[in-house]
Point group: C2
Chain length 470, copies 2
């Protein structure tokens, strides 16, 4: 164990012992250098290690504080390890929830997008103005599938920063990640085929499965550890699975990220059974700590991981630009796109290509990560301060979702309706399951500043929970 | 018969007699007033009637000229009235043709888009700049399906100008007409279902059918009269058809438009058999004459016509904004869009909404219609001057396509490859058929100015035809 790892372990032990508790400020770097006699670099490395493990949180201007300790988290009592669905039927429910959350002035705890005020809307508008003025008359043809060359190169270079080799030719620009994920699934599976998803999972996965009339195998996914490996192995051994769709980083709705070991194990399992992976990685840029985590795609030597990304969660929503690095499936995806939407809007591709190649992008991402980390913790504290103790809040570092377990008798869909009447949206747990599981769970968007309005909304939500009939 | 109809008939008779021949200038309006003793309004009405019938063409600054007379047009000798396809397999060929035509500097006779220099790119850029600066932070959510309210209203108002009642709520904004058509088809038919298409037809219809694993019934479509009504009636009587997909105006690739009678007959037939119509109407704005033709949708009292439009052919390509007025199928289409691409890029929707509500739009359309009409006729003359006489050119008023019949022994795909080597793209006839029919036909894009480069290309094409092996 190196010096910085030793120091990190010491600090962690003291946190476990309660020397510092959730929200407490840790000694400053300078103070720790003085106390320990270690170099500044060693101390910094130790703090960053703890930050990336989610043990401590960096705060603007005030150093590091202790992150929330894992709470005793209630799993659904009835949850099965594996669920088979011949028919997925979720879209109508999703549609109604999304329509409801479009109301002007609603408190958007149910939103899937970060607070739009965190996006550099004006700077991107400048990029858009610039590229629009410079567009050649042939811009429409130049940006047909696989998409704008400059943008694909820029994305490829961002993979290179992670130590990954992804050629621009492997990348297809899409109308947001939704199109990327849908094209990926359409390339891998035909009506009636089995596809593995997580449980709970992003509702978009189930909508795509419903649209293509596939059959789903939902594998239990732990709110901290991710998908159940044993169950996944069992399924792959037994069923002719055509694709596996999961999130390795900041899983939606749970918020958790997979360990390196687990990513390797999943990749190996899928390779053994010759099953391609659709890796939904739309929150990839929203990590905490100083080093970016790598997706499962980083392990892919076979071209069997279709890595789907988007700018809608990290840069700007509404431009509808995403991509898929589709490995050996890339040619097929290009053809499928040509058949369905033809191509992604050219000015949007050009504007994003311009922006992400400027130094502004990295500055924006740093600021965004920092703000989201602070807000997520602040929201966690706010929920803890007001919600009944019987509610567990799963706090995982990164992203901007908090996953709440209510007491088993509570019905989150009912709370969703009552909250809506009070101008507050939440995402009820069964939105993330085809079996109406997770009825007493909910996902909360923690990307908003704890303004008086947000505090009032949390208090109102708390009242609904306190007065929920037994 | 009113006075102007009588005058129109007289003029037409003289043209048939050869008093004036194709390309000849007609007497000016003023001259005809003097000669006939009729009022200027009567003469103008007569000329406009002849123009809308495609008998004469308006020319900038030089009054009216006689349009090309219908040529003896060769139909494929082997063409059947009805073709059944259990499996449609065209996408690979379409993909290769489109990829080839992306080469820089190629002469784009094969292109499906009008000359991009005819688009008001800079004026639209100004709209884009304006709306981008004014976008509220919630713009992404505001423009989710069914799409931007202002844009849907503006489209609804354009329908009103045609005397049609199409409520904004019936309209869904899509990523170009391709998405509109695909969503329409997905709403109406399931894998294995029968769908009626024209023969020849826009290849996008076949790609959509291939993607959804539907079965196609291709009904013979006359290059002047459109789809064969008897064959259509026969098919509808015999097969459980789920949808009919056709173009009533400026059909791609033939260029022809349906008469009012025929539109009514088709609508009635489809109603009788309770079959919904997907009306691909992307060239709707590119008519000749002073009054806009109305689509079959104008007859629809049952909400069973899904009318698909686009700005990519009449305003700007590459923005990827289209729409569908989906009648009673509108709610289902909204849900299908949410499942597949989520929504259309918001800045693009806002920019187009801004532009089409300004007086610039109507001015642009007038200029565009005029230029296209002139260029189409000029290209017709150029082709006639250089191509072998054994080649027939189908000249139909409106749009910008010419459909050419080569002698039966010629192979347009072979000519396509030879032309490509010489830097010229064409659209070979079998691109428009799932049965590799129309092998000795080709579609020529006539939207380009007859520059020296274009003249050279036509001469080169003529050489290929002269030297085609017998």
């Amino acid at each position: 164990m190196s010096k910085y790892q030793q120091l990190a372990q010491d600090l962690k032990n003291r946190i476990t012992q309660g020397v510092w508790q959730a929200g407490d400020k840790l000694p400053s770097l300078r103070q720790t250098v003085a106390d320990s006699g270690l170099s500044l670099m060693t101390v910094l490395n130790a703090y960053q290690l703890l930050e990336s493990q989610g043990v401590i949180l960096a705060q603007a201007k005030s150093g590091y504080i202790v992150a929330p300790q894992p709470e005793a988290f209630r799993y659904p009592e009835t949850q099965r390890q594996i669920y088979f669905s011949d028919k997925v039927d979720i879209n109508e429910f999703v549609f109604n929830v999304l329509q409801a959350s479009k109301q002007a002035g609603i408190v958007p705890f149910g939103s899937a997008f970060p607070d739009p005020s965190l996006f550099p809307q004006q700077a991107l508008a400048r990029s858009l103005v610039k590229v629009t003025r410079q567009m050649s008359p042939s811009f429409a043809a130049d940006n047909l599938p696989p998409g704008n060359t400059g943008l694909r190169k820029a994305i490829s270079q961002r993979y290179a920063k992670l130590g990954m080799s992804v050629a621009p030719d492997e990348i297809l620009i899409t109308s947001g990640a939704m199109e990327a994920l849908n094209l990926s699934l359409a390339a891998l599976a035909q009506a009636g085929d089995w596809v593995v998803i997580e449980s709970p999972t992003f509702y978009g996965a189930m909508q795509a499965i419903e649209r293509l009339k596939l059959r789903a195998i939902a594998v239990a996914t732990d709110p901290r550890e991710g998908i159940d490996l044993k169950a996944l192995a069992e399924v792959l051994k037994t069923y002719p699975v055509k694709a596996c769709w999961l999130m390795s980083l900041h899983q939606n709705p749970l918020g958790c990220s997979l360990s390196e070991q687990k990513k390797q194990a999943i990749y190996q399992l899928l390779c053994e059974h010759n099953v391609s992976l659709i890796e939904d990685d739309v929150y990839q840029e929203l990590y905490v700590g100083s080093s970016a985590p790598r997706p499962i795609k980083a392990l892919d030597t076979q071209g069997c991981v279709l890595h789907c990304g988007s700018f809608s969660k990290s840069l700007i929503a509404g431009y509808r630009v995403g991509w898929v690095a589709a490995g050996r499936h890339a040619p097929q995806l290009q053809r499928l796109q040509l058949m369905s939407t033809l191509s992604t809007s050219a000015p949007m591709q050009l504007a994003i290509a311009d922006f992400i190649q400027s130094p502004q992008y990295e500055r924006h991402l740093k600021r965004l990560r920092h703000t989201l980390a602070e807000r997520k913790f602040a929201m966690y504290q706010l929920l803890r301060a007001h919600l009944p103790e019987s509610v567990s809040v799963n706090f995982e570092p990164g992203g901007y979702f908090l996953w709440l377990a209510l007491p088993a008798h509570m019905d989150a869909t009912q709370i969703y309706h009552s909250a809506l009447e009070r101008g507050i949206s939440i995402a009820p747990g069964n939105l993330f399951s085809n079996q109406a599981e997770f009825r007493h769970f909910m996902r909360i968007n923690a990307s908003y500043d704890c303004s008086p309005e947000i505090v009032r909304a949390v208090k109102a939500l708390a009242q609904l929970l306190y007065h929920h009939p037994n």
